[in-house]
């Protein structure tokens, strides 16, 4: 990767669903280690864009490259292996499983010894298991989930489930983390906690963050750059302040329920 080149490059991607254009020629670049927020009214195509980057949708047109390599047509599992992790808008934990199991599953891509090797070299696999467990313990400590290790995730409060989902994505040790409304449905205190975790991850691990979020206070606070989508197109991009003042952005938000609030 050449110095200064974008870590993630989205070039002219488009996606239609039965005649409805969800994403229309969107291009954007994300630099290694930045926090980029994607905002826009409901139905603007934010989640569709995220789904294309993470491989869940295949773009009709356009190209997506990560660290200089084309990932446009890779399946989600291959994209996860390359270091892009994500969370989902609706909580998507493995509900019957414990917090620990969920986090350990996040280590799946990092588990080197293959299935058959793990039967043959039992000791080696056990050793590896311990190493993964240690990584997961670090995350449990970081996210203050110590008392919940053995709890089934279905029994946790909404805010805690979101936190576990963040932890599971972090367990992949991703280079880039896609967060789809991580603060949706949270109360103010939970939102502040989540924002703190996101900032810590970004600062301490240098993880690139791509964030979809409706809470403008949070977006304006933590983002380095903001991209505004409306009806599948990018209508503005730049630093939070300049985007907020952009007349196109204000127009897009008028008449929708998400009015831009001035960042505190």
């Amino acid at each position: 990767m050449a110095a200064g080149a974008a870590q993630l490059r989205v070039e002219g991607v488009a996606k239609q669903f039965g005649g409805v254009t969800a994403v229309d020629e969107v291009s954007l670049e994300v630099q290694q280690g930045e926090i980029l927020s994607v905002i826009g009214p409901n139905g603007a195509g934010k989640t569709s864009l995220l789904n294309m980057v993470s491989g869940f949708y295949r773009p009709d047109r356009g190209r997506i490259a990560f660290e200089g390599e084309d990932i446009t047509n890779l399946p989600p599992s291959r994209i996860a292996e390359r270091g892009i992790a994500r969370t989902f808008q609706n909580i998507a934990l493995f509900k019957g499983m414990t917090v620990l199991d969920n986090l350990m599953l996040g280590r799946h891509v990092r588990m080197k010894s293959g299935v058959f090797a793990s039967f043959v070299y039992w000791g080696l696999a056990q050793k590896e298991e311990m190493a993964h467990r240690e990584k997961v313990e670090d995350l449990i400590e970081f996210l203050k989930l110590e008392d919940l290790r053995k709890q089934p995730t279905g029994a946790l409060s909404y805010g805690l489930q979101k936190r576990v989902e963040l932890g599971r994505a972090l367990a992949l040790e991703p280079k880039a983390l896609l967060l789809d409304e991580p603060m949706g449905g949270m109360n103010q205190e939970e939102k502040e906690d989540m924002a703190r975790y996101v900032l810590d991850v970004n600062e301490e691990r240098g993880t690139t963050i791509i964030l979809i979020e409706h809470d403008m206070g949070v977006v304006m606070d933590i983002s380095k750059r903001v991209v505004v989508l409306d009806r599948g197109r990018v209508i503005a991009a730049g630093e939070p302040k300049s985007v907020q003042a952009n007349p196109e952005v204000i127009r897009a938000y008028l008449g929708t329920k998400h009015a831009i609030r001035k960042a505190a």
């Binding site: 869940f56 499983m97 799946h108 793990s118």
Partner: protein, 297 residues
Amino acid sequence: MLDWGFTLVLVTNGVLIGLMYSLIALGFVLVYKATDAINFAQGEFVMLAGFIIAGMIVLAGAPFWLGVVVALAGMVAFGFGLERIVLRPLIGRPIIAVIMATIGLATVLRGAAPLFFGAETRALPLPISDEPIVLGAITLPPGQLVGALLSLGFLAAFTWFFMKSRMGVAMRAVADNQQVAMAMGIHVERYFAIAWGLAGIVSALGGLAWGALLGVDVHLALVGLKVFPVVILGGLDSILGAIVGGLIVGVVENLAAGYLDPLVGGGTKDFAPYVLMIVMLMIRPYGIFGKRRIERV
């Protein structure tokens, strides 16, 4: 008047047979849980495995153990191959496509197997004594006992695999939510193949146990019909359900044979489990241990 000694015999034998039902039902549940496919050919898988073992021993003159090993390997390969060649292209198609594919496969297997193995019934003798084992008031037929122990052994090993091993945990993740599993970097298709491979192992063991009990011919496939009451009672997506459902069907069948058949002149054994199945569908369609599916739109 209830004869307790007689009832005890019926129940213990029902438990043994029930465990043998549990074993093959597990193959069905596993595939449904992990891949959402409904395998209408589970009975034919068992039949095919029975033919392979009997064919190796009777036609090829191989030792017993070799017949079993070849059946295990052959059925795993068959499961992998089926998934890769027939079922993978159907991913994303309506569930009815997979159902039709397995029904078609079942018919082909039933029709084609005698071409290779002959139409007559082959005995599949286990290398053990035929003497019944007497434990006080209970007499245990050795064939059933071996079948039940084989089933128990596999169920225990499988439970460990599914709950504790890394591969098993990933498989549970796939069963729980395929999309999220993909986002974790889990290659979902690989686990589909593993599920079908495990169904192959189940079928090989089932072919051995049931083939030894009933003899090997195309009618061996009929044990597959018992899978449906078992999995509906226990819950289509529950491993524990397959075990408990199998036990219920085994015991109910035997009680019907012992108490109802003499009253009406026979025949209730074969449909009693289906009566239970229909009742269960009316009151609790997801079964005893099944997940109540809440569809979110």
